[in-house]
């Protein structure tokens, strides 16, 4: 592809005390791709996610999103640029309604400034109306429309994962990072979630990077696979090639072989 990659990670390091959680990881994510990030437990996948999205301060390296450095930017600034993440343990806001969860994510909302709803009354109302329409149409796509006015805490685990993805999409992201989007989701909902991801890529050209343990999902639904072990990237390529890679087999089985 001639397009420059949407995300470039170079030699990123993150230490917790003496533990090198991420130890010089480098990779890039191609625009419009669905890329999987895999690796054994403790390989540093979640730490890498946290560093890239600004939730943890990296100790070295470079991170570029859309050609510009986002190294050590705060999480909110990174999210506003169009790189949005979800969490391994869903962070739906239980005591807010499903619709409020969605509206909260609406970007560029003048009413979110202190007194903004009074000072920019007309603009705030207009933005709120737009956001509501967008939110309701997304909720309809994710089969959550009937739940719009329920507390998000009443949703099932799988529905929360769907809501978290739908909520991330309210930000109109160009790159979505999903941390184990299928963990604890029943297979039917899981399939629907994967269909949505592929649909979004096809419709809007949204790029996805996701951490997943289910190898069947990884092999069938991603076009690139990045493999991490002990804080480093040990393989990077098409699913079929990665599956046969010696280093990968070693990393997964190494401890037992």
């Amino acid at each position: 592809m001639s397009d420059p990659p949407i995300l470039e990670v170079e030699d990123v390091a993150k230490r917790f005390g003496g533990v090198r959680a991420v130890d010089g990881a480098s990779f890039s994510v191609a625009r419009g791709s669905i890329t999987a990030l895999i690796g054994p437990n403790g390989a540093g996948k979640s730490s890498l996610f946290n560093v890239v999205t600004g939730f943890e301060r990296p100790d070295g390296g470079a991170v570029r999103y859309d050609g510009r450095s986002i190294y050590r930017l705060p999480p909110y600034a990174i999210a506003r640029r169009g790189m949005v993440r979800t969490f391994q343990l869903t962070k739906t806001l239980s005591v807010m309604t499903v619709l409020d969860n969605m509206l909260l994510a609406a970007p560029r909302h003048p009413g979110e400034r202190l007194g903004g709803s009074l000072v920019f009354a007309a603009a705030a109302r207009r933005r709120e109306r737009e956001a509501r329409e967008h939110a309701l149409s997304l909720l309809a796509t994710f089969a959550l429309a009937e739940m719009a006015n329920e507390y998000a805490g009443t949703l099932s685990g799988g529905q929360r994962k769907l809501l978290e993805l739908a909520r991330a999409l309210m930000l109109e992201p160009r790159l979505v990072l999903l941390d184990e989007p299928l963990a604890g989701v029943n297979p039917t909902l899981g399939r629907r979630l994967l269909e949505h991801i592929e649909q979004l890529r096809a419709d809007d050209g949204t790029t996805f990077l996701f951490v997943e343990h289910d190898m069947e999902v990884v092999m069938n639904h991603s076009d690139r696979v990045i493999v991490m072990a002990a804080g480093r990237v040990i393989a990077d390529g098409e699913p079929q090639a990665v599956r046969r890679d010696e280093a990968v087999i070693e990393a997964y089985l190494g401890a037992h072989a």
């Binding site: 909110y76 506003r80 709803s117």
Partner: protein, 300 residues
């Protein structure tokens, strides 16, 4: 009157603790800064009372930003201790910085402008057939009117998208950050707004007392404010109104229990009764008078 003072004071605490989830235990300190800044500007600098008040509010807000900037990054329990310590520092400073505050001798004479106004207001009321028996009656009317206006303002603010972000921060700050919200800025705004309310409560208190001494700003004031917030229900603004009235009625009403006991024993008994009522209420209605039980259960 004390109920209205506490009401305004607790309104800020509700915004911080109930809506934003930041445990501000330094509210009495912000109130002290507001009241003292007003009094010092009037007495020592000769400012007009009308100019001193807005400037004192700004002082309290600036103090909130200064305290919040380093400490709002801390976990909730550390933040609580930091703000409590801050309030005590303010009280000790007021006690010892005599050239500015006159220490425990107290500061006098900041309320001449108010008395003129109050006197005229009282006469006006008399002319209009409302018989004023107490010279404090105008202050009572003004303080209740203030409470009502501020209550409407804050209750309206938390219902805007701005308030929605605050509620999101209360529940899960990381979720709000992941959705592009600068949570530190929101927490600072919440704290500064609350400090402004504390300063206004401080003005009402100062007008009521006519003499400003540091020990009025004891941390117990904050604790009563927190009791009001919990009694009324976390996040409920109707709760603040009702609970501040109720708690003050309980506290003041128990003064007049007719028991054949020494006055010091009555004084102790008052607090025992108030404490018991609160314990019973928490046992049977843990969400507070106006809190939503469902929200409490869903929020774990």
């Amino acid at each position: 009157m004390l109920a209205a003072t506490y009401g305004i004071f607790a309104l800020g605490l509700q915004l911080n603790i109930g809506t934003t989830g930041i445990t501000n235990f330094g509210q009495a300190g912000f109130m002290a800064i507001g009241a003292y800044a007003m009094a010092i500007l009037v007495v020592r600098e000769g400012w007009s009372w009308w100019w001193a008040m807005p400037v004192a509010i700004v002082c309290a807000m600036a103090a909130a930003v200064l305290v919040g900037l380093p400490s709002l990054r801390l976990r909730a329990d550390y933040f609580a201790i930091t703000t409590l310590a801050f309030a005590e520092i303010v009280r000790y400073a007021a006690n010892n910085w005599r050239s500015l505050t006159n220490g425990n001798q107290g500061l006098l004479g900041y309320n001449a402008d108010w008395f003129k106004l109050s006197f005229r207001f009282g006469n006006w009321l008399n002319d209009h057939g409302i018989h004023v028996t107490s010279f404090l009656f105008p202050l009572m009317l003004v303080s209740w009117a203030l409470l009502l206006v501020l209550w409407l303002l804050v209750a309206a603010l938390v219902r805007t998208p701005w308030g929605r972000v605050l509620r999101a921060i209360r529940e899960d700050e990381d979720a709000a950050r992941a959705l592009g919200k600068n949570t530190l800025a929101y927490k600072l705004q919440s704290l500064a707004l609350s400090a402004a309310l504390a300063a206004i409560a401080g003005f009402v208190l100062a007008m009521n007392l006519t003499l400003l001494v540091p020990d009025q700003f004891d941390p117990v004031f904050t604790i009563f404010g927190v009791v009001i917030v919990i009694l009324g229900g976390l996040g409920s603004y109707v709760g603040v109104l009702v609970a501040s009235f109720l708690l003050m009625t309980l506290l003041e009403g128990t003064r007049y229990i007719g028991l054949p006991l020494a006055s010091d024993k009555i004084a102790a008994l008052r607090f025992i009764i108030v404490g018991l009522v609160l314990i019973l209420l928490m046992a049977f209605r843990p969400q507070g008078l106006f809190g939503k039980r469902k929200e409490m259960l869903l929020g774990e």
